[in-house]
């Protein structure tokens, strides 16, 4: 039976990995991910989790170890943040290309410089083009649920791709929250044992990761693109079964009071809950504001997003990362492409918020809605704006 517990989200994340009965954890501690791997090492050391914990000397080695252990057929987990992700990123591309179903939790943190241990989505966006599936949690319950979901999706033979579960550093990772923690039997019923399709085995030698000449590289990338695209159906199937077994429903794109909204905020991650409070307040004043939250970032849920926003006149899209001197932030850029491809042209403003741990408040969201409505009325050029900036 599931138990309702009050637990720090990092500890809950580690417990969820333990419930998934991983075989190998290779990780290097980095703020704000530290409590996740600390707790996992405790679970292994105390005998509660029968797994190999490899305390590597760097994140590059962490992901390299994960590649090896996953290729050997072990259920494999790691976790990192920010600079740690940057260091391991070389191997992350390889893990996806070699179709190794590694699960990683990223406690999202800004990239240096200046050195910042605090939250934004720089590492999440750095992982955007690696070929990993990326989900984004809004609260502690989602972290637990998405981790269990991640193993199921990653190891499905129709997918066989690594999955990154994103949670906002400190804002989620260090928060104590009420969480329904499933028990081992429930997770076992949902998550079948890992049966590798491709495995390093001396009895049946195989080369994993050879050179690919120009006559194969293009086709190799096409396979990855197709598999990532078709993984969407498996992600949905795994969420359907999750609802049947655990009673909680997940969707790639969630809407909140968006159906009749004239102005829609689009967010990703923990700020979504703050945005909901702002939407409630605006609705009480009779304003037609709504919210669309992105839970699945890769594969990108283009049609879902279009369906969610197509009725709105104005969109205020929030990015928690700078795309320095690009046209706009990465989330906004994706959505603008979705709209352009469908020849649909609402008024779009991009708001860069919450960089390097700066708070994003309820008032900020109200200000964004005020700003986008004002700009639309005046016919200001569309673009991006950093909010909460001291001039």
């Amino acid at each position: 039976m599931a138990k309702r517990v009050g637990m720090e989200v990092s500890i809950a994340a580690a417990e969820a990995v333990g419930l998934a009965d991983v075989d190998v954890i290779a990780a290097y501690p980095i703020t704000p991910q530290t409590h996740i791997v600390e707790h996992l090492s405790e679970l292994v050391a105390s005998g509660h989790l029968d797994a190999e914990f490899v305390p590597v000397e760097s994140e590059h080695s962490a992901m390299s170890t994960c590649v090896g252990s996953s290729a050997a057929g072990a259920r494999t987990f790691t976790s990192t943040s920010s600079q740690g992700y940057a260091l391991m990123s070389e191997i992350c591309y390889i893990a996806a290309s070699l179709r190794l179903p590694i699960v990683m939790v990223t406690a999202n943190r800004a990239l240096s410089a200046p050195i910042s241990i605090w939250n934004d989505h720089a590492d999440l966006m750095m992982a955007r083009d690696t070929g990993w599936i990326q989900t984004v949690a809004e609260n502690g319950q989602e972290v637990v649920d998405l981790i269990i979901h991640a193993f199921r999706v990653a190891e499905d033979h129709r997918v066989l791709l690594p999955v990154m579960v994103n949670l906002d550093g400190f804002i989620l990772s260090h928060m104590i929250e009420p969480i329904w923690m499933p028990d081992e039997a429930e997770v076992k019923a949902y998550l079948p044992p890992f049966v590798p399709k491709l495995r390093l085995d001396p009895k049946s030698p195989v080369t994993i990761g050879p050179v690919g000449m120009p006559d194969v590289y293009t086709e190799a990338k096409k396979v990855q693109d197709e598999v990532l695209k078709s993984s969407r159906a498996v992600i949905e199937e795994a969420w359907d079964d999750f609802e049947a077994k655990f009673g909680r429903r997940y969707k790639a794109v969630e809407t909140y009071k968006a159906d009749d909204a004239e102005t829609i905020l689009i967010t990703m991650g923990s700020i979504s809950e703050t945005a909901m409070t702002a939407v409630d307040a605006m609705r009480e004043q009779g304003r037609k504001a709504g919210l669309v939250r992105i839970r699945l970032f890769r594969p990108f849920p283009a049609q879902d997003l279009f369906d969610a926003v197509k009725g709105a006149k104005q969109l205020a899209i929030v990015d928690r990362v700078m795309n320095l001197n690009g046209i706009c932030g990465p989330v906004c850029g994706e959505i603008k492409s979705v709209l352009f491809d469908r020849q649909h042209a609402p008024y779009v403003q991009n708001y860069i918020a919450g960089l390097g741990g700066r708070d994003v408040t309820v008032q900020n969201f109200t200000e964004m809605v005020d700003a986008v409505e004002g700009s639309a009325q005046r016919g200001d050029p569309m673009g991006y704006e950093i909010i909460n900036l001291k001039e």
Binding site: S97, L98, T207, P210, E219, E226
Partner: protein, 97 residues
Amino acid sequence: MAKETGIVSWKDLELGISIHKPGSAGELKTGDWRSARAVTDFDKCIKCGRCYIFCPDMVYTQNDKGYYEQNYYYCKGCGICAHECPVDAITMVQEGD
């Protein structure tokens, strides 16, 4: 004899571009890369085998008479054999000349 590689449909690629047959690198036609080929003057050759030892690919094979002959399927024209030959028996000849 190795066969030439060709472009395979993305639908037919092995999972993770893995290779299940040992020694398949032997099929890779590195001879395609060549702009000059190594040619041996067997009148000068002393059968020392340095070309065979230094060749980074699989170009040289010793024949019945003890001479080392080239297999141009593999010769990528690097010129290491010509450089290492102690009696200057190997010349790099431009392709197309």
